[in-house]
Amino acid sequence: MHDKVVNEITWVIGGAQGSGVDSAANIFSKTCAEDGLYIFGKREYYSNIKGEHSYFTVRVSNKLIRSHKESIDILVSFDAETLFRHAKDVSTNGIIIFNSELIETSINEIPTLDPDVQNTITEYCNYSGGDPLTIKKLLEKIQQNSIKCYGIPYHQLLKNFSEHTNNPALSKLARMINVLALSISLSFINIDRQALSRAIKYIFRTKPKIAEINVAAAEYAYNYAEQIFQNNKFTFSKNKMDFSDIILVQGSQSSALGKIVAGCRFQTYYPITPASEDSEFLETNQVIEQIDGNKGSVLVMQTEDEISAITMAIGGALTGTRTATATSGPGFSLMAEALGWAGINEVPLVVSLYQRAGPSTGLPTRHEQGDLLFAINAGHGEFPRIVFASGDIEESFYDTLKVFNFAEIFQLPVIHLLDKAIASSVMTCKNFDPNKISIDRGYLIKKIDNKTKDQDKLKHFKRFELQKNTAISPRPPLGTENGIFWNTGDEHNEEGHITEDPTVRIKMMDKRMSKLNLILQEIQDEDKALSYNENSDIVITSWGSTKGAILDTLDELNKEGIKIKFVQIKLLNPFPHQLLEKLLNSAKIIINIEMNYSSQLAKLIKQNLQRDIDYEIVKYNGRPISCDELYRVIKGIVDNTVDKRRIVLDYGT
């Protein structure tokens, strides 16, 4: 038998929520990364604690990758549902690892598979027998596509392992089946076995005993599979790359790490998917090593609701502390009123908005970019705010440092747009450099000179001083001597007292709203929008986490000599129209791509540039865009075989 030489594989593991799918995938990702291979992984799960189907896709490659693919090379399963749901996506020459003890299971025996899904799968198999479709029949159909299926009697294997180790208790440990399955799947990949043991020890680093048993079980299962299947392995044409400066990082950690570096010392939150992990990471790492030798800390407050979360964060910000709150759409809806308070009182505040599919509760654990226009418009009345979107995990670290600077330099709330796709993904990227972006606290003043003879000036500090040259006024923290000021949600004068004077009103509105122009002047172009592949008539516009699939698609097209430009817009409010006019100037065809129904960015482009887009690609089924489905559509547009102007992507399980 010959090994299959590959540049990349897509590996998927599925199972009931709570059965160890995530840890198996984390071990797999870590193992491959340890072997010097690039990783992109993503997690999909139901809003459920135990029992519903969850799965993890890990794409492994010998070149940089940033998105997932839909066609599966190795499908790892230990329950029946995973097979019914994913077997159809296994590519020709791919392999399936399944539980041979479940071979007679029929599709109607799985309560978590709703009838629609059952019908789709049955139709896919062209199955019209009188009895319900079984695993056996499914695999028979699948095997027609040169897919190899390997049945594992998991419970028997576990029993054998417990006898092998003289530990009868292990035979009942069904939780370990995930590691058996994972290890067997690795026996089909030419990879350093030692990396597997190291990865298991790392994932279970807080539980050494459990790590030890899992390492032994993995070894046992690996040897078993090698012996009985005599595998022909997937062999990477290139691996063991120098990864000394590469980290494997999850999307729920990167922005939180950025917050520590940025000096965020107070974060509030109310539990919500997919934003909670940001706060939980901070709380786990609440004590912060300072370079000057002191020990700092970030205080994380779980509040009674999101209204409390944002208002508490604003209260904290008034003391000169860098503060943030992290939430998702439903929570952000509750924050709208307080956002305006921060706006009128010119309070620096960062809101990490991890979008998920709405409206209302929507698809609470699924992905969408549906909150762009809401983030820009949330709150009554008019006030300046920055809306800034990160495209991937690595960006979200550096962007977090930037958004705290923006908030303080311009003294306003900044909404940092992230989403479920970023939060639930994991990828290899270059190690973060905490010194790449320095801290800029703007016009924060911690000491106020009291030597002035002007007693009146001393007694009447002007927090909202109207100046000719700048909209930015001095900002002392609460508690600063000679800096007493007032804040109010009412319109206010320079000291911060309530006013309804029509002239002052105009001046204060002008002061605040003029920050929008100031922002466009001060923020560097590369923070407004990034542009990839110049000199092309065809330009893709997009924002946020679609970046990965777009760049991977462009890589594929480049290989075929097709060059397409991509403009990733990061600063979404105020909208950088001048820069975009420049970037889109030569475009003959604009393709706008977004994970929402109504192409919200396209509306902004139309509104600000008076320019229609030519093709809109949207997706709103809750599953992130895969690079292969995007490739097909873009290729179709280039080849002129797409006859619609609006293309709705629908891939996803």
Partner: protein
């Protein structure tokens, strides 16, 4: 130089109605700040929305006039980040016990060291006299078209079961007594609640100053009015939990006392308990230098090149592929 109540006054025109109980509360706060000798820049008065919400503008300390119902989370955020600040939150009964009642209860669970004063008059004054959560069932104040169909909240009892550790009631027209209560509330270690009976001369024509004075309720023998308000400390009542063993005994006493209304209305301290850990003590259990080095005092910048002072090398190392 000793601080005087006048040092805490601003020049802002006060537009409360003539005769409003709010003036008494404002004076009492200024007198208490002077007596406590709190430097003007070390205090921050937070307020909600309504007539009471304007209070900070009349006080020469940091003054934060927040959103309707949200004064407590704003105030807590500031106090948590800078525990050196003396934080006093004020608001109306609609503000704190209607739209903001969720925060009222949740704040009790934390016991953060600050003082919350509710100007309690039974009506929404600034929106022209609607019934507030403390207006009794069946009452028909001036602006209501029909008697109040909702039962009232008992703020003293609610504060108690929510976990406030200092609970008192004052009367807006007994300024000295109120000032003493504010001083004690501020000195209390933990979350203090002060309910202030504050007649609204414009919209509450039932619980008026005259009603509290008992002008409608004269002694049959000598014809003198019998004041409804009486002082708890003159009545032998003691709600202080010195030892946590006394808690349940005092708890029933607090609830019983909180239900007194009508011809006898107690003012004074209902409950005080410093045995309950304040929130800063609870944080210090997990962040041991929190009190000495709270968020607002942390140096986040290392040097004059504005490099970060945070060292995340260990965290990054744990993410390294070839660790």
């Amino acid at each position: 130089m000793a601080l005087k109540p006048a040092d805490y006054k601003t020049e802002v025109h006060n537009d409360w109605c003539p005769g409003c109980g709010d003036f008494g509360i404002l004076n009492a706060i200024q007198m208490a700040l002077a007596e406590l000798a709190i430097p003007t820049h070390k205090a921050a008065i937070f307020s909600g929305i309504g007539c009471s919400g304007k209070t900070p503008h009349f006080i020469h300390t940091y003054g934060i006039h927040t959103l309707h119902g949200r004064v407590l989370p704003f105030a807590q955020g500031a106090k948590l980040c800078n525990p050196d600040l003396e934080v006093i939150a004020v608001g109306g009964d609609g503000d704190g016990l209607g739209i903001g009642v969720g925060h009222f209860v949740s704040s009790g669970r934390r016991n953060i060291d600050l003082t919350y004063i509710i100007y309690n008059n039974g009506v929404y004054g600034l929106t022209k006299g609607q019934a507030s959560p403390t207006l009794k069932l069946g009452m028909k104040t001036k602006s209501l078209t029909q008697p109040n169909v909702n039962d009232s909240i008992n703020p003293i009892a609610l504060a108690f079961i929510s976990g406030f550790t200092f609970i008192a009631r004052g009367y807006a027209y007994d300024i000295r007594h109120l000032k003493d209560l504010i001083v004690k509330a501020v000195q209390h270690k933990g979350l203090a609640y002060l309910d202030v009976l504050q007649p609204c001369p414009t919209y509450n024509d039932i619980n008026t100053k005259e009603w509290f004075q008992g002008l409608d309720n004269t002694d049959q023998e000598n014809g003198k009015p019998i004041p409804r308000i009486y002082k708890l400390d003159n009545s032998g009542y003691n709600g202080e939990v010195k030892d946590q063993d006394q808690y349940y005994e005092i708890a029933s006493r607090v609830i019983e006392k909180s239900n007194e209304w009508g011809d006898k209305i107690p003012i004074g301290i209902f409950y005080q308990n410093e045995n309950v850990a304040s929130y800063d003590e609870r944080i210090a259990m997990k962040i041991d230098n929190y009190i000495k080095y709270p968020p607002a005092h942390q140096e986040i910048i290392l040097d004059d090149k504005n490099k970060t002072n945070s060292n995340i090398n260990e965290l990054l190392k744990s993410l390294k592929v070839n660790a």
